[in-house]
Amino acid sequence: MPIVKLHQVTYHYPLTQTPALQAIDLEIEEGEFVAIIGQNGAGKSTLCYTLAGFIPHFYKGELQGLVEVDGVSAQDSNLSDWVMKVGLVFQNPFNQISGAKYTVFEEVAFGLENSGVPRPEIIRRVEEVLQLTGIADLADRSPYSLSGGQQQRVALASILVMQPKVLVLDEPTSQMDPIGTREVFSVIRKMAEQGMTVVMAEHKMEWIAQFADRVIALWEGKILLEGKPHQVLTDERLLEKGFGVSRYTTTARLAIPRKLWQPERPLPVTLEEAVAGFSARLHSNAPEGQP
């Protein structure tokens, strides 16, 4: 049984005529890792907010259709119960700091205090999640004194500590440098490996290709493509609609007419696949008699 179920979901932000989401049908199985791609304004963030309950409980506007997580519909639930099931991490790490806490440890504990977890359990769970996210050494620092990647891992830890069933990430690394990106993705990968259901809006195709079980391409509030990462990320239609495409895919596309890439070979998305493809081509090309 799918843990997340969206049926014919259409949403208008207040005072707008064009829908931000249009007749979205989506089912996500427990433990699945779904990546959402799309340009700015395609509805990625809106979809994330809908899954996380902030639509319809925080943003007003008009929501039609069925949004269901774990068998309960969003319209029948309230936000503070919903956030216990679906955790949301978004772009700007700085704005996700509660502003009410002086150390990272307290910051991560904030959600548990709010949900009335007894003190010994708070301490145990916070310590556990700090280890998991690799920020145990920052426990006594002020959240404001950290780098972007560290702050984003604090934000991630603050949500993970609440043990949500579904983790929704809205471009969690868009404001990070490469080191910060790697730090954040390594935590997300760990969570996915432990079987958490993850929905992530993201631009970085190479990372998506490595992580995701399924990719959804949004275009003007509608689902344009859906399927296995390689199948979606190398689809011609992404180019037509002006999606960003992995530079390795572009390179291989340009290489085909020059006979540098075997046309029967699927297009690469990651560096490793590109290297493998090009070296296979080189070896098949090697003159007879040479090793």
Binding site: N92, Q96, G99, Y102, F105, V117, S145
Partner: protein, 259 residues
Amino acid sequence: MHERLSFYIKRDSPLHRLNPLTKLTLIFGLILPAFLVPFYWTPHLLLIVVVFPLAFLGRVQREYFAASARLILPVAGFLFVMQALFIPGGETVLAKAWFLTLTKESLMFAFANAMRIMVMVSSFTLFMLTTHPSELMSDLTQRGLPGQFAYVIIATLQIIPQMQAKANTIIAAQRSRGLDTESSFARRIRALVPLVGPLVFGSLVEVEERAIAIEARGFTSSRPKTSLREIVDRPLDKGLRWFLLFVMLAALLSRIWFS
């Protein structure tokens, strides 16, 4: 700068171990007598016999005297000079120059008032040096203060260094576009407009994301909240609070009685 967002000095002392509410009561247990008791030497005695020893008891004497020298003394000193010179009345003229008259009465009145200010600011300073803001808020929330109220107070305390950092970024950005922030006074005033605008509107936009972030952590949950910090409230605290309440009441009564 960003590492330290409060005045709190982490140390182990009898004053640190007191319950935050007891210390809060202590502030008023010092201020009310200093202002109300009609006996002239009350504020002076309170300062020397209670406030100074408390600073040592809390093991924050160095920080306390540093803060006094930098912050409290100039304010109290200014007040003392102004009142000594400009309070009318008094018979015993000590000195006279032009339109200024210094009388013994105005001098004594000004001195006592300066001492009252010293007692007031000192007790707040000691409180902030020995009480962690989160501890105070956890304690007050557990005593029934609404969580939203506590959040507003703590977030306000934390926002000042953030705003400072943001203001510096905006100043740098606008100066790189040729904004003049260093010439005449009038030009500096005019330069404020393109600085304050982005600061205020930028902050308003951030409020929405901040609201989402704390909602995502169940801030508005109707379940009873718990606290990571264990706040002790010993019988000693309760006893002290009753005693301080008695002191405040006595100060009030003495005022009514003798005047």
